[in-house]
Amino acid sequence: MSNSLWRWPLLWISLLLISVVGMSAAEPLFHWVEPDARQVIYSRADFYVLLGRHLFVVGIAALVTISIGVSAGIAVTRKRGSDFLPLVGQVASLGQTFPPVAVLALAVPVLGFGTLPIIVALMLYGLLPIVRNTLTGLQEVDAELITAAHAMGMTPLQILRQVELPLAAPVILAGIRTSVTINIATAALGATVGASNLGDPIISGIVNGNMAYVVQGALTIALLALSVDSLFEVLQRQLRSRLSAS
């Protein structure tokens, strides 16, 4: 059982590592893709450095969005913050319509070129699925369960931590999964505003007309996205089986 659970993440992660470490070994293959180019392996930076930077940007953005998004979702579903609930719900759905490129482009005039605007754009964009799912998850918790917990003498904090959050966790986790997977792909756009990450080979490939670079960048990002996505899948399954077991 546990073997089949981890099969996909292991496959994707090992493929990702192989492609990052052994990209230069595939040189003949890329020569076949791009016979006219003098150089077919992107060499301005090592792939593991690019991967590290990519993960760093997405990770920072994810940490901030998860902590802000979940706490905002919790705050507006409490009695004291309930005034803000309609507004936050509306903004979370409205913000989903903002195209990431536009958010990125609007962040640059304020923050300048480099890694900072892409982190901010990812934070803004990734916040909304998390807030939306936290709200949905917490509101779907059966009101009678909360009343029952209250009647058992649980404090509001205990109700939140032992009843509401565990029950809402699958929905919240689904929001985090959406947010992170989208952000892995969106972070590649950062290469257009001077942030160095896995988008770099793609952009320089498009600019110089070198398909091999594009393939290398795209392959690595796709493998990264699939690895992370499959890890979340495992996490969700474990959570679900734990919920149904208890």
Binding site: G89, F98, A105, T136, A185, T192, M211, V214
Partner: protein, 399 residues
């Protein structure tokens, strides 16, 4: 399940005596932003970074005090909210939004010396924050007053008209206006290209999506395969997919003259359209499929009992009932396509993204805005329009 259904339905306290904490805190934030952040910036030419000016310097003391008075009025009215106070609040918010361009006119008189022909006025962080919070106030007031979607749309169009009049008549020195005037023909063509690309991609994906969803309902095995492939496509970043299509299409154009005659080439519209359609298919197919599946079996059974044939059941019962959810898919797809088309500018497909990437390349931020703002507005307009249409088509009418 559609996104709109997944959202919490707003719970509103109707007692009307508690202070409205939302509007009060929004107006306090607005007041803080207004007095601490730069409202406008003035640059002697296009490339130099402008110097920022705070509210009193930008709008003069009378202007700054008038705005402060209106912010305080919002707090005051929100302290004891009633139906009438909410209406007054709506009036105050709309008035502030309509007054904003006049503030810019004042600052162009105050800050720009007539001999500097190249000088341009930029919008400061404070200005954007104020505008954004006013929009939030509008959303909040719409919920409190229980207005339909039509009202804010009408009010915002009115405000947009005021803005547009001010921009064309008196705001020649505004950087955004200057960028527009320098390339107004190009801009209009870019908007046209953008909408054409989105239009073609979405209509093709509607047809393909419907066909695929119908096939999936017939052949259950196809469902898993198709969703796996479409899910995989979504994980490839958009710029990569655009880039990856360059090579094979260029090869086709060189080796198959017939396709080249049709306009297929490695760079430009064809790879952009293929990638856009590939991305649009997943949300389209997913929503179409769930829309058709979700129709209540009891209703279909009743239709069968009434003696309807299979085709009648599909066209007269299943499809009309599925239509709102189906339109939800069209809405999500279109909004996504509007954003992706901006990225397509990187491979020479044209559209509004051209301005974004050119502006980023030249470090000309106003040009970036000229591309990004219309994309944002286009997305919001499409979202509101299709959302309203889906609401109206819901069985039993809107609300």
């Amino acid at each position: 399940m559609s996104l709109r259904d997944a959202l919490p339905t707003p719970r509103i306290h109707r007692d009307g005596l508690n202070p409205n904490a939302v509007l009060i805190s929004l107006s306090i934030v607005m007041l803080a932003a207004f007095w601490t952040l730069d409202m406008v910036s003035m640059a002697p030419n296009r490339i130099v970074l402008g110097t920022g000016y705070s509210a009193p310097a930008a709008f003069g003391w009378p202007g700054a005090l008038l705005a402060t008075l209106l912010f305080c009025a919002i707090s005051f009215l929100a302290w004891q909210p009633s139906q009438r106070h909410y209406q007054a609040l709506l009036a105050a918010v709309v008035m502030l939004m309509a007054l904003m361009p006049f503030g810019l006119i004042v600052s162009s008189f105050l800050l720009i010396e007539p001999e500097l022909a190249q000088a341009r006025l930029g919008l400061g962080a404070g200005y954007w924050v104020t505008l954004f919070i006013l929009l939030l106030c509008l959303v909040e007031l719409r919920l409190r007053l229980n207005l339909t979607r039509l009202w804010p749309t009408l009010l915002l169009s009115g405000i947009a008209l005021v803005w547009w009049l001010c921009a064309t008549l008196w705001l020649d020195s505004l950087a955004l206006v200057q960028e527009f005037k320098a390339r107004d023909q190009l801009f209009l063509r870019a908007v046209g290209q953008h909408m054409t690309l989105v239009g073609i991609a979405v209509s093709v994906s509607i047809v393909l999506g419907l066909a695929l969803a119908l096939l999936m309902r017939r052949y259950a095995r196809l469902q898993k395969v198709a969703f796996t492939v479409l899910n995989f496509l979504q994980t490839i970043p958009s710029i990569a997919l655009f880039g990856l299509l360059l090579a094979p299409l260029a090869w086709l154009a060189v080796n198959v003259p017939f396709l080249a005659k049709l306009g297929v080439s490695g760079i430009g519209t064809t790879p952009a359209l293929i990638a856009l359609i590939a991305y649009s298919l997943l949300p389209m197919v997913r929503n179409t499929y769930t829309a058709l599946e979700e129709v209540s079996p009891v209703t279909l059974e009743a239709a069968k009992g009434m003696g309807m044939r299979a085709s009648q059941r599909f066209w007269q019962v299943r499809l009309p009932l599925a239509l709102p959810v189906l339109l939800e898919g069209v809405r999500i797809t279109t909004v996504q396509a509007i954003g992706l088309t901006a990225v397509a500018a990187l491979i020479g497909a044209g559209g509004l993204g051209t301005f974004i990437f050119q502006g980023l390349g030249q470090a000309a931020m106003d040009m970036v805005l000229l591309g990004a703002l219309p994309i944002l507005m286009l997305a919001l307009v499409v979202d509101a329009g299709l959302g309203a249409l889906a609401e109206a088509l819901r069985p039993g009418g809107a609300r």
